[in-house]
Symmetry: C2
Subunit: 395 residues, 2 copies
């Protein structure tokens, strides 16, 4: 069969994906302490409140909930209010419901970016962002990310200014995957200005901002957007539950018809039932106590990870200091290759993701992404002790 027409950069996406899938599958082996995943803690999922919402919606409105349906207005309204409270004043009509953050990326990248056109992304970034840009045949311009205050804005401006002008840019504002760093407030304001000045649509990919456990709330890039060039992508996957598969886009009203047509061509619409259940969960006030509990646990876990890194790897590694989210980025001595180390780590019953899996242009062999959200503090400490032993052997 002729697969020459396959529109995937199979060499990169496939390999990284399949390796990561193997890594994630390790999490099932109870012997192995996996710092490789990107999952919220299963034991902290808001099971009781979601069960109540499913029961309540199915009891009072089952037929409409199980049928085809337009976007659920009360959910759009709740999100518009939530966004307004976070500095992005918007109307319910500007809120487009998606099946999670990745679908937001998939829709917006297809709206703006044709094959071969340039896109600006961070040189180290979430694989899902790579898939909707490089993976779709875009010519990618990468910018470095500062591990203290996020994407380099001089490089960002240079990449936007370069001819031909890019068709799209993507930034992660809070608790970057995989870097754990957040974009400073000044950089957010500047990013919005630059997108408008160079007339480049900028996707703000924000699945994590509700997962802040330290530092001050910082309004999204979209809060600084006067000209309508910033497209905000949100998600309930990490802040409520992944299997709800629900998220949203905040876009300029003028683009909503095109976004709707594009989304229909992908999978018609989001489930009426799931939209109503999430709306019930949100309206019944279940989100805030859930986030409090979740972020408190994440904070403890993150602290356990940072302390263990200090104790066991303090002299041979540096790492980022996240104020929320799920990940810490570790940089080892240049002679360490985290891919080559990996089989030995698995033998020692600890797993991580080699940082180079997120490096758009390769390199960064001496880095790793560590997840802290899905393990108890004791497990994290033990995992880092094991990891340190493997690293020290290799030094």
């Amino acid at each position: 069969m002729d697969l020459g027409s396959l529109q995937l950069s199979a060499e990169t996406a496939d390999l990284k994906r399949s390796v990561m899938r193997d890594l994630l599958s390790l999490a099932v082996d109870p012997e192995i302490i996996s710092l490789a995943g990107g999952l919220p803690a299963s034991e902290l999922l808001p099971v009781k409140a979601l069960r109540r919402s499913f029961e309540s919606v199915l009891a009072r409105d089952a037929r409409r909930s199980l049928q085809y349906s337009p976007p659920f207005g009360p959910l759009q309204s709740w999100i518009a209010q939530w966004m307004t409270g976070r500095g992005v004043s918007c109307d319910p009509e500007q809120v487009f419901i998606t099946n999670g953050g990745q679908q937001g990326l998939a829709i917006l990248s297809r709206l703006f970016l044709a094959r071969g056109q340039p896109a600006v992304i961070e040189a180290i970034t979430f694989t899902g962002i790579q898939q909707v840009t490089a993976g779709r045949g875009a010519s990618v311009r990468t910018i470095p990310t500062n591990l203290i205050d996020g994407a380099d804005m001089q490089a960002f401006e240079a990449a936007l200014a370069e001819e031909p002008r890019p068709a799209l840019a993507v930034l992660i504002p809070d608790f970057h995957n995989p870097l754990g760093v957040s974009l400073s407030s000044e950089k957010r304001a500047l990013a919005a200005q630059l997108a408008a000045r160079y007339q480049v649509p900028l996707i703000e990919d924000d699945p994590y901002s509700a997962l802040r456990f330290a530092g001050e709330f910082c309004p999204p890039i979209k809060a600084h957007d006067q000209a309508g060039f910033v497209f905000y992508v949100g998600s309930f996957s990490k802040m409520v539950a992944p299997a709800m598969r629900l998220g949203w886009i905040v876009a300029s009203p003028a683009l909503l018809p095109q976004i709707t047509v594009l989304r229909e061509s992908l999978d018609i619409e989001s489930s009426a039932l799931i939209q109503r259940v999430i709306a019930d969960f949100l309206e019944s006030g279940s989100l805030e106590p859930h986030l409090q509990q979740l972020n408190q646990a994440n904070h403890q876990r993150c602290l356990a990870l940072l302390e263990a890194l200090e104790r066991h790897l303090g002299d041979v590694a540096t790492w980022t200091q996240p104020e929320g989210g799920l990940f810490v980025w570790v940089t080892l001595m240049p002679e360490i290759d985290a891919w080559r180390l990996f089989p030995r780590a698995v033998e020692a019953k600890v797993a991580y993701i080699p940082g180079s899996a997120f490096a758009v242009n390769g390199g960064h062999h001496n880095t790793m992404r560590l997840n802290f959200s899905n393990l108890a503090p004791e497990k994290i400490q033990l995992g880092i002790r094991r990891l340190a032993a493997v690293v020290r052997q290799a030094v």
Copy 2:
């Protein structure tokens, strides 16, 4: 804002979609009898059984159901058995779970069809098929569909044989949307042979075959596929409930890794919860009694529609004789324009979809698609009486 890079055939898709949205919104006005929709009957949705399945899954397995998760094996197994029972012997590993039939079309079209490449589709077909071919910039070759036994196989072979060879073909085997016709058994066997002979991947879009209420079961095109060039797309939207947003692809095992990567780039995965709930619904034996009840009701409704057409429009129209599904296709006298007639029909409190909305190359102004699944027989009769009055006025 520069929207020049917008990859949509906005002129066709947008217009048709927005008109159809308006048409569908009429269904909300209780005064208007809408034969325009494509919805299964709300009052026949398996509400009780699905509620039971939600309760049971959330009671016994809530945490895993709400988390990220690999495809749910028991659901893949059930579907593989179901497909095998319908003549398509396949393993669970060949079953790829999607968010409904449209996502199957979206994934497979992206797997095979690059911008500008030729695709073969029926000249009158489901708008979702138009969106993933013409709507994505394919150069479309259309073939006529016989209203008795389905797509014209001579035209199909000619379109496959033409150089450059098409990158993709799409056919609807059972109870065609919008035509209501089914492809004969001989034509199915031939379609599979032709796909293999000309090495063109053929998507078999089958959301309706479980909705048969008359005639003999006819195995899918995929049942005749020796060479692995047929890709079957199924859906639970019409046979269980639209808001479950679940469907499947049956593909050659060799392509599953690429399909998985592509799907991850679109929206990661299907909900673990919804997969488990559907599996519970299926394993508990709820499907068969539901389909019996549904198809019996659909049969009565279809007969009511056909009788009303005969009584009120017998001398000025012809129509298809569906053995299942949701739709009847009506052809009026050539001087009738169903678009121009539409405002008068709405005034007379009846709605339909003008057939030209489904015509890839335009034309077919004297046709309409009528839905029978979502109205009681008395309503259907009254609707056709109103419609006939409007048509007769125009003659």
